[in-house]
């Protein structure tokens, strides 16, 4: 044990004392923050970018066109000719023009054509399609002698509230927050498994190629060397993670409101990812930041943090042992590492896929399987836990998942130890999976 500690200490200190550690530890949250800030900036600043001229020859709009804040539409004189319009586009007065021909019928069968200078992007296209479609639909309905009041009452929808059987309201924002937390936690574990797993692998490869392994194993058992390395790098991971959390939270709490005072009103426009969109919609419907805080208060944060640490450690121990085994089997050629890593990467990526299913359907069979199976549970379970224990994840599932994960990492460590012991001292030979299986099966 003492030797494992010595090795872990060296692994930890050599990494933490490096300048690059400090750099990545501080720069990464800054980078993430800058990334977010940029996203928000562009979200806030977009709109008014695209200008569309409408030539209403059929006089459908009667000279009036309700504006939208994203794309600027402007009715121009019906007498404008195509060369004149082209010139306007060339002069960058407009990005494009839409001609409604004089014989345009409101029956929805005619096709309209929008000519533009540059090709118009997907999102803008859809917005234009939506906006014009809606406007024309209204016109169509009105032309059927439906009054404006009737129209409004047709368009008003009924709201459905979701509650559980005991009558406790299950607000949209709580579900959305759960969704966001699930995705973020799952993604984080996925990334951390890769980052620290490959760090272990590189460390082992360095030991093997620099021939230090042979010197060390004359003092300690190969298994101790492997465990020391895994523990040391795991400790680096936890330290780095803690620093990141503090930095990210600190930056977002202090700097973001300072830089974007109007942010609180614009959160609804953040469309970073599907989760963001849904969160934003929920926020819009339920009244801003208050709803987020309300949603957060329904979530058992200590449980989630506790589970996160457990599943991160469990997943890390499980996978890093396998990464170590691969590192020990690789010779100088990094290309070998690529092909040997495939079987390890597959379940991680698979877990990621199930995770995205699980955040949408946390009680589906696939989600439950994924959250119990030790190779995917670190990623998948985090997505489910956010929805609540024991409502969505019964205690027995949590328990079984935890036991399987512990069993899983004991198993992979045992297997990896066998591969590692032989691989670390094997030089100059390309090692295949078949050979590694032989090492596992072999006695002592």
């Amino acid at each position: 044990m003492n030797k494992i500690y010595l090795i872990a200490q060296r692994e930890f200190l050599t990494r933490v004392q490096k300048k690059t550690f400090l750099l990545t530890t501080i720069l990464l949250p800054l980078f993430i923050f800058a990334f977010y800030a940029m996203m928000i900036y562009f979200q806030v600043k977009t709109g008014n970018n695209t200008k569309i001229a409408i030539v209403d020859k059929a006089n459908i709009f009667d000279g009036k066109f309700t504006q939208d804040d994203e794309i600027e539409y402007k009715l121009v004189g019906a007498a404008m000719t195509t060369p004149q319009l082209n010139e306007l586009v060339d002069l960058k007065k407009f990005d494009g023009y839409l001609v409604i021909p004089a014989d345009f019928q409101l029956n929805g069968k005619d096709t309209l054509q929008l000519n533009s200078g540059k090709s118009i992007g997907m999102v803008t296209r859809e917005k234009i399609q939506g906006k014009l479609g809606k406007v024309l639909e209204e016109k169509r309905l009105l032309s059927l002698n439906i009054t404006k009041n009737q129209l409004d009452s047709i368009q008003a929808g009924n709201k459905i509230k979701f509650a559980n059987i005991s009558g406790k309201e299950d607000s949209e924002s709580t579900v959305t927050i759960s969704y966001v937390i699930g995705v973020v936690a799952g993604m984080l574990i996925y990334m951390l498994l890769f980052i620290y797993g490959s760090m272990v692998m590189r460390g082992v490869m360095e030991e093997k190629t620099s021939r230090i392994a042979e010197v060390i194993v004359s003092s300690v058992k190969p298994f101790q060397l492997m465990m020391g390395k895994i523990t040391g790098i795991g400790a680096v991971g936890i330290l780095q993670f803690l620093i990141w959390i503090v930095l990210v939270i600190g930056l977002q709490m202090v700097l973001l409101p300072l830089l974007f005072p109007e942010l609180m009103h614009h959160t609804s426009q953040i469309a970073i990812q599907p989760a963001g969109v849904r969160a934003a919609q929920a926020v819009q419907e339920n009244g801003g930041v208050g709803a987020i805080l309300d949603g957060l208060s329904h979530i058992n944060i200590p449980l989630i943090v506790g589970c996160f640490v457990f599943y991160f450690l469990g997943g890390y121990l499980l996978y890093s042992a396998m990464f170590a085994a691969v590192g020990s089997a690789v010779n100088e050629d990094p290309q070998d590492a690529q092909s040997l890593m495939m079987p390890i990467m597959m379940p991680i990526i698979f877990g990621m896929v199930i995770m995205f299913k699980a955040v949408n359907e946390p009680t589906s069979g696939l989600a439950i399987f994924g959250s119990l199976f030790p190779l995917t549970s670190p990623i998948v379970m985090m997505a489910r836990i956010a929805y609540g224990v024991p409502d969505t994840v019964p205690y027995w599932q949590l328990l079984v998942s935890a036991i399987l994960l512990i069993g899983g990492f004991l198993g992979t460590t045992w297997i990896a130890g066998k591969i590692y012991r032989t691989g670390i001292l094997m030089y100059g030979k390309k090692i295949t999976w078949k050979e590694m299986i032989k090492w596992i099966v072999r006695k002592n």
Binding site: S210, I212, A213, V215, I216, V217, S218, S219
Partner: protein
């Protein structure tokens, strides 16, 4: 003197070959022992078993009178493998400290010993240098220090002089003698015969996983001598011919190299010259070098294969 190490019928078979096939020998306490063999003879496998890195399939290792217990005995062994490296980014002092502590030394103990050895080998100024800045010879010295500083009872050096200039090689050689004098036993593995001849008391030669020679350097040379003598004569006007006493191997003016036939002693030969009135200026026996013995033996065993029989 007791044996520090004794191997009894050690075997280690791999899937395709017998790496070590029934090898027994013993190493006396305080001696310098040479383990010789061509590349791929099974030396490294043997040494890895002695250092507890791998386990024999069968056979016993007796270390210091007791059955070898890798867990504990490892701290009484210092092993400098042929394939040796260091952490490039570490400082030399830290590196030495790390390896010493892994051998079970306490922090203070390690520090004192490292300082002693660094002073002895004129490495004191290196403490804060990084390993990657060292030349090959310098890192070799550092490796030697880390192998011996925990005062092991048994020191195993695999090709310790490769990459060292003659000056540093001599420095290390002197340290090896000194360590042996202080009671450490040394196993010295190499295929460089001239070093073995100079340093070792006792040698074992292995080839294709089997022991083919075991004895003191003196005895082995006696065993392999072919009764060849170098003779320098004076006033030998008549040409010397091969005769029932000896065959002439080489003749160069008045210098003869002869092989004395069996049953004939050197005195018979001397008498032969004296009776003919030929002056003998010098008369030496030429013993075979270990190198010659080595090559002869290894070539003899080459024909036999180490692979398992197919049926």
């Amino acid at each position: 003197m007791d044996n520090i190490l004794a191997l009894h019928n050690l075997k280690k078979y791999y899937a395709t070959q017998k790496a070590v096939d029934d090898i027994s020998f013993s190493v006396k306490e305080g001696s310098i022992f040479g383990l010789l063999g061509p590349n791929g003879a099974g030396k490294t496998t043997l040494l890895r078993m002695i250092t507890g890195i791998i386990y024999p399939d069968s056979g016993d290792i007796i270390f210091d009178g007791k059955k070898f217990d890798p867990e504990n005995d490892i701290s009484f062994i210092g092993y400098m493998p042929e394939e040796r490296g260091l952490y490039k980014k570490m400082k030399i002092g830290d590196h030495a400290m790390y390896l010493a502590q892994l051998k079970g030394l306490s922090k203070n103990d390690a520090l004192t010993k490292i300082k002693y050895w660094f002073r002895r080998l004129e490495m004191e100024s290196w403490w804060n240098k990084k390993v990657e800045d060292l030349s090959k010879g310098m890192s070799q010295k550092l490796q030697f220090v880390t192998t011996v500083l925990h005062q092991p009872k048994l020191i195993i050096l695999d090709e310790p002089f490769s990459g060292l200039d003659p000056l540093n090689a001599n420095l290390i050689k002197d340290e090896i003698y000194e360590l042996a004098k202080q009671g450490s036993s040394i196993i010295f593995s190499t295929h460089r015969m001239e070093q073995v001849e100079e340093i070792c008391d006792h040698i074992v030669l292995i080839n294709l996983g089997q022991k083919i020679l075991d004895g003191t350097v003196y005895n082995i040379k006696q065993d392999f001598k072919e009764n060849i003598f170098s003779i320098k004569l004076k006033n030998a006007e008549t040409g010397i011919q091969s005769n029932p006493l000896f065959n002439i191997v080489k003749q160069e003016n008045e210098k003869l190299t002869v092989q004395i036939n069996s049953g004939i002693t050197s005195n018979d030969v001397l008498l032969h010259f004296i009776q003919q009135g030929i002056m003998v200026e010098s008369f030496n026996e030429i013993l075979p070098s270990l190198n010659e013995i080595f090559i002869k033996l290894v070539e003899d065993t080459k024909a036999t294969t180490r692979a398992f029989q197919t049926n």
